[in-house]
Amino acid sequence: MKKTIDIVGKRNIFFTFSAILIVISLGSLFINGLNFGIDFIGGTIIQIELNQTFETNEIREITDKFDESASITNAGDNQTQLIIDTKENLTQEEIDSIYGEFEEKYDADIELLNSDYKSATIGNELRRQSLIAVAVAVLLMMAYISFRFQFSYAMAALLALLHDIVIVLGVYSLFNIPVNTAFIAAILTILGYSVNDTIVVFDRVRENRKKYKKSQLAELVNDSVSQTMPRSINTTLTTLLAITALYLMGVQAIQSFTLPLMVGFVSGAYSSIFIANSFWYVVQEKKVKSSR
């Protein structure tokens, strides 16, 4: 047999490490908040290919006319694309006239790549819907785990899930990454994936339980985690390979989706292995002690 890793014995190290990450995440969420994109608060995004590099102040001359706080970013392979992000609700006519001004300034050789307008109503709905979606998904998963395993496993899985959600949100807040619809899809995928990781380990615990005595709880958890460790590492690695390749291609719509996935998968694998199992051990140990 391979060396076993003493997860249970070192659990306080993992708990402390996670606690620090969670405190940083929550702290940033309270101080910086989240940078909600137009999907959630309403507004307009216009993306134009100018086919030449540009200075932000040149762009401001035009954009200041409708919103002085509009954000201007470069994009594209050669940084020749312009993305204007404003909280203003621009009508189609207004977008057309803004585009017309750019056409005048930068020759007719420019192209409107993408425009996106969302009203504030839709944003509010989306925020509510997203919260419901995440809550419903988590409840259904808990119910499934309680049904297939036991309630204590579901509690441990829930803890791991909350851990992952807080950390992903924290990364978004710390790096001021815009939160949009794709982000919600990413969060739900991370939930599914993290629970999947947790279940694979718990499945082994469930199977091994018959072979160990009640007093060997620590050995049971440590052995089960160690036996499933190669799988946990390899799966996380292969999935990260695929997702990173996609991220590096630089399509913006995909990047905003794959970035939370990358953070979430790493956090999910970590929390499944170290947090969920240690927590389950603590709960089980209390049960065993109190039954004596």
Binding site: M1, E93, S115, I122, A182, R231, N234, A242, F257
Partner: protein, 415 residues
């Protein structure tokens, strides 16, 4: 036995590659033709370029939004879009008071947007502010060139009124001779002609058009009729054709690189089972695309991410199984016994893990919108097919390969 199994294995290999070739390159024998997968698949707006709008009906106490009004509005919008001559627009009701319109592959996006949401309430108003006629009285409407007083060719919209309209128009032109009857579109005066004679033939002309195109659009709006309710856009997305194509090319390239890396990794790490897993994954990818085309799944950008993610999940099932086989081999079991035990023991973990992912997918599909739904669909289809391929195809192929005894050293199976 060995030879027979070796033959079967080679046939399976040939079959996989042949079907792969046909699916990606297409095939035509005589009059039968298999279209390559890239042409048979539906692409979403974010990949082809196009316009996506959600319109919300404005409710007011004296003009409540009803189902019937929304249905009529949808019919009117459909007629307007059909007049633009675009292919495959989708116009659908969303919730109680919303209409979702998506038009792929459209050249003049701005023009389309302006035509879709316009109420287009045409009114003829007399000097007292009374409405004489509305668009509902118009039978026919066309855009033509007309010679004006200065002998110039100008574009105008001709109207042919119905009987009721003709009578009302005759009466008004008789009463207000040498006065102005305004023609308003959505409460904006678009033409203010002076009445010169009584008009009894029920024909009227709207002048002041900038060009024939503008006249054509107005004539079309009048023909299709006014919207029975005022619609406000609450969401508009336009994607230029080049951006869509660029995103598609890049994501496909990223996907191919990602999947190749994954295949290379499992091949190097798991050797013989890894080789079998690669074959099973190729079958999995082919099956996935087959299902997409058969049930007409629309592929969006997040959808592509969903496909690649589900490949990751498919790999996971194989990894769980192979790690199990390794453990059984280390316990000293024979190869065949280890393979059987490995699959048997892995099955609960795979099923429980995948069902939780499907739960996330179902919730996402039920509560998500637009492109996110595309992601949920590809993820769910992917997870179901991956369970099938890993539990049946990988198992059959692995046992088949083991029984050919090409490689007898169990080290190559992970021992």
């Amino acid at each position: 036995m060995k030879l027979k199994n070796a033959l079967i294995f080679c046939m399976v290999l040939t079959l996989i590659f042949a079907s792969g070739l046909v699916m990606f390159n297409g095939l035509s024998i005589g009059k039968y033709e298999v279209v390559p997968i890239s042409e048979a698949i539906n692409y979403g707006l974010d990949l082809t370029g196009g316009v996506y709008v959600v319109l919300e009906a404005q409710d007011s106490p004296d003009d409540p939004v009803t189902d019937e009004k929304i249905d009529r509005a949808i019919a009117t919008i459909r007629e307007r879009i059909d007049n633009l001559g675009v292919s495959e627009p989708i116009i659908a009701r969303q919730g109680n008071d919303r209409i979702r319109v998506s038009i792929p592959n459209i050249q003049d996006q701005s023009e389309a947007l302006q035509l879709i949401g316009k109420t287009a309430q045409l009114e003829f108003v007399d000097p007292n502010g009374e409405i004489v006629l509305t668009g509902a009285h118009v039978d026919q409407s066309n855009a033509v060139y007309q010679t004006d007083d200065f002998n110039r060719q100008t574009a105008v919209v001709t109207l042919k009124l119905n009987q009721e309209g003709s009578d009302a128009f005759a009466e008004a032109t008789k009463e207000f001779i040498n006065q102005v009857i305004e023609i308003r579109l959505d409460n904006e005066v678009i033409s203010a002609p002076n009445v010169q004679t009584e008009i009894t033939d029920g024909e009227a002309v709207i002048t002041g058009m900038a060009n024939l195109e503008e006249a054509g659009n107005l004539a079309m709006l009048i023909r299709a009729g006014a919207l029975p309710v005022q619609l406000e856009p609450i969401e508009i997305t336009t994607v230029g054709p080049s951006l869509g194509q660029d995103s598609l090319d890049k994501s496909i390239l990223g996907g191919i690189i990602g999947i190749s890396l994954v295949l290379a990794f499992i091949l190097l790490y798991y050797r013989v089972p890894g080789l079998i897993a690669c074959l099973a994954l190729i079958i999995y990818i082919l099956l996935n695309f087959l299902v997409f085309t058969l049930i007409g799944v629309t592929i969006t950008l997040p959808g592509i991410a969903g496909i690649i993610l589900s490949v990751g999940m498919a790999v996971d099932a194989n990894v769980i199984i192979f790690e199990r086989i390794k453990e059984e081999l280390k316990l000293g079991k024979s190869l065949m016994a280890s393979i059987d035990a490995g699959f048997k023991r892995a099955i609960t973990a795979i099923i429980d893990g995948n069902i939780t992912t499907i739960i996330a997918g179902v919730v996402l599909f039920a509560l998500g919108s637009g492109t996110v739904r595309g992601f949920a669909v590809t993820l769910m289809i992917g997870v179901v097919i991956s369970m099938f391929t890993s539990l049946t195809i990988t198992k059959r192929l692995l046992k088949l390969f083991a029984s050919t005894q090409f490689i007898k050293n169990n080290k190559f199976y992970g021992a």
